[in-house]
């Protein structure tokens, strides 16, 4: 026994540090033999991908196609001679952009800080930066460039409106936003007989403008329709429930592209012959309804996750059922499913690229038709689609960034 006490315990090294460069690398990259092999294999593959990717971007790729198309990516054929004969219609999309910037400024003024501020500043800065981009449009004069730079003061005007005038409440800004959307449509469509506002047919609308218009109208209307459908499906009224279920399942069961195609071939037949028809309007309605069907399922999930005690407590306090729904169930249900709702908005935005099927020249279709029409650019197709992927990626990523910010502000998962 005594001998045992005298021998020193087998010496053991202290556990490896996980701090510092070496420690971090050991903990995160080389913690086991398998991990080390993975790290080396992935490192080599990634390095090779990066090497070839960067070489392609900077040496092999020819980006002149992007600058050749230039402003057409943004407004499509809107400024073409055939769309707007005899005058310059370019200021109209610009004015719409200015309207949007003012609204962003107002949203910033109301919320004060956070993601809204960042998005507002980024939007205005990007709009102003278009001044220096190659436009290569027919009539891109100084006035157009000035209108683009005006986005910066417009942001400030919006901020000031929200801060120092009675317009600065969320409800009034939302109403303003709705009317600004209508005004934008009128501006783009034009009014017959008004000088400077000569009508521009929707077939010339295109580019990013078209994607954004479809996305905004879809987002604005699919949420309320989706809420109505979800409430109808969860409700006690069998006839309404049946109608809602049928609507949701039919729209969810068929591809959007089939519905869009149908909207062009079949829907015109469903109305009298002299009924005013507008292919873009039909497409916007179909995209909105399609998105609403998915939205309804998301919101239904949120309603189902709600603790029944909430509704019971509201009823016990004497709230009528419509107030229980509007003030108690829906706000909590929607807050619970914000990621799913924003995910649906994102896929709605991505789906706007499908309008190629009805012959509209959106951001993707305009590039593709240009390549097909100018075969000397056929070798640059990859550059084009890498660029388009990047454009969409920037928009969708900022959407999910905003959604995370809203979630943080509402304290989802903390209560």
């Amino acid at each position: 026994m005594a001998m045992n006490l005298n021998t020193a315990p087998a010496s053991e090294l202290p556990p490896r540090s996980t701090r510092g460069m070496a420690g971090w690398m050991h903990a995160n990259l080389f913690s086991s033999r398998f991990n080390s092999i993975l790290t080396v294999a992935f490192g080599v593959a990634l390095a090779a991908a990066l090497w070839f990717g960067l070489r392609w971007i900077f040496l092999a790729a020819d980006w002149t196609l992007i600058s050749t198309l230039g402003g057409r990516f943004i407004i499509g054929q809107y400024n073409a001679e055939s769309a707007c004969p005899g005058s310059n219609c370019f200021w109209r999309p610009q004015a719409v952009l200015l309207l949007f910037t003012v609204l962003m400024g107002m949203a910033w003024g109301i919320t004060g800080r956070g993601v809204v501020k960042q998005v507002a500043i980024a939007t205005a800065a990007a709009a102003a930066a278009f001044t220096f981009l190659p436009y290569s449009l027919d009539r891109m004069g100084l006035d157009v460039r000035l209108l683009l730079v005006a986005n910066l003061p417009a942001l400030a005007v919006g901020w000031g409106l929200a801060r120092y005038t009675p317009l600065g409440t969320a409800r009034r800004t939302a109403i303003l936003g709705g009317s600004a959307f209508l005004l934008a449509l009128v501006l783009l469509r034009g009014l017959p007989g008004v000088p400077g506002l000569q009508p521009v047919s929707v077939i010339y609308w295109g580019g990013l403008m078209l994607n954004l218009l479809l996305a905004v109208s879809g987002i604005m209307f699919s949420l309320p329709i989706g809420i109505a459908l979800a409430l109808g499906r969860r409700g006690q009224l069998p006839v309404v429930k049946l109608l809602c279920v049928a609507f949701i399942e039919i729209f969810r069961g068929v591809p959007l592209i089939t519905l869009l195609f149908m909207s062009q071939v079949l829907v015109p037949l469903a109305f009298p012959e002299n009924f005013p028809q507008d292919s873009l309007f039909r497409a916007a309605v179909v995209i909105t309804l399609f998105s609403a069907a998915y939205m309804a399922e998301n919101i239904r999930g949120g309603l189902q996750a709600l603790h029944p005690g909430q509704v019971e407590a509201a009823r016990a306090l004497g709230l009528p059922s419509w107030q229980t729904t509007l003030l108690i169930s829906l706000p909590q249900a929607i807050r619970n499913v914000i990621p799913a709702i924003v995910g649906q908005f994102i896929s709605l935005f991505k789906d706007t690229s499908l309008v190629y099927i009805i012959g509209m020249l959106d951001l993707v279709a305009i590039g593709r038709s240009f390549i097909q029409g100018n075969t000397e650019f056929l070798d640059n197709a990859l550059e084009l689609f890498v660029f388009l992927a990047l454009v969409f990626w920037v928009f969708t990523c900022s959407m999910s960034y905003v959604s995370r910010g809203i979630e943080r502000n509402l304290g989802v998962g903390e209560r």
Binding site: N28, V240, L266, S353
Partner: protein
Amino acid sequence: MAAIPRCLIYQGIPIWRHVRVIEWAAQLVSGVLVVALVGWFFANISNAIGEREIPSGFDFLSRAYQTPIGHHFLPYESSDSFLYAFVVAATNTLTVAIAGIILATALGALVGVARMSSNWLVSKAALAYVEFFRNVPLLVQLFFWFYLILSLPPVEDGYVIAQQVYVNNAGLSLPWPTANGFDAAVTWLGLAMVAVIAGVAVYVGLGRRETSTGKATHAVVMGGSTAIVIAAASWLIIAAVVGEAPFAISQPAPQGTFGRISGGFTLPGGLIVLLIGLVVYTSSFIAEIVRAGIQSVNRGQPEAARALGLSPMKALRHVTFPQAMRVIVPPLISQHLNLTKNSSLAGAIGYSDLTNVAKTMTQTAPAVSIFLLIMVAYLAMSLTFSLIGNLYNRQLRLKGS
């Protein structure tokens, strides 16, 4: 109190304030409105059909389609009927959907697990994959792959791997087994199916014994070798009886200077583009679903498994994954349905799927009837897939919940 006629009172309450009455009235009104609207649409459509002499009806189905279909898995001639052409196109969509679902699920699970890896590099690479491919429209991705394949050399100067595999801008040609004789081939296929069933039975039985006794039974090895032995034995017997093997390998070979490859099995470029696009796009969604599922499992579960001596892979396979499946399967089904529906983008890259063929059909056949057919076909596919998925989901559910 003003006198209310008794006929306007129901259960002691004036009917215009009685909740039940209001509810039923509202339902009646909305139901009638919807029926009227749909009726008006149909009246207009039938009017238009009558007045503008737009063709309708389903008589065209037995007429010859007279139009080639770019790629078809079923044998098809231009003289075949519309109905058969429709079935051929639906088979194309169905094949793409099933292959895409299998590949996307496998890739998505892999990326999802990589996303949870403790290895920083691997998890960040998986994150970049998910964030990129999930956020770019499928159409843009399809066009990217389309032009990437188009930039491959033509058939004459295409890549040839080991004199067997041809890669060029027309597609991918692989050696493929072809039947020497119909009877022998079918007999062997039947026996091979028996072999697979026997193998699975052995695997399941041994697995049960392993769970109950705790002794290693090597279920995978035993089950696999059972299947292989039965299949190989039946191959040899058939070869001895008939005189030649039931299947021979047909090798692809370039034909002259026309840029065609005969023999073997050629996956056309459009199909490859469609599959790559669908699989990559959908797998990025599935990866997030798998990650959420793994994260939903109580942390103590894999920790306990590790403490009991299971290796990380075994802990993942036997402890974490079965529990994560309950969270994963419902959204996974909806991704599978999305993939099936997204396959309708095939038209953009020139592959002949159901929507694309139907779109061409509307030029020579009544659009109304064709749309009804497409809707029924897609709804049937969606319902079948979700039925299979829901049956599987029911098996996974905890007993008594």
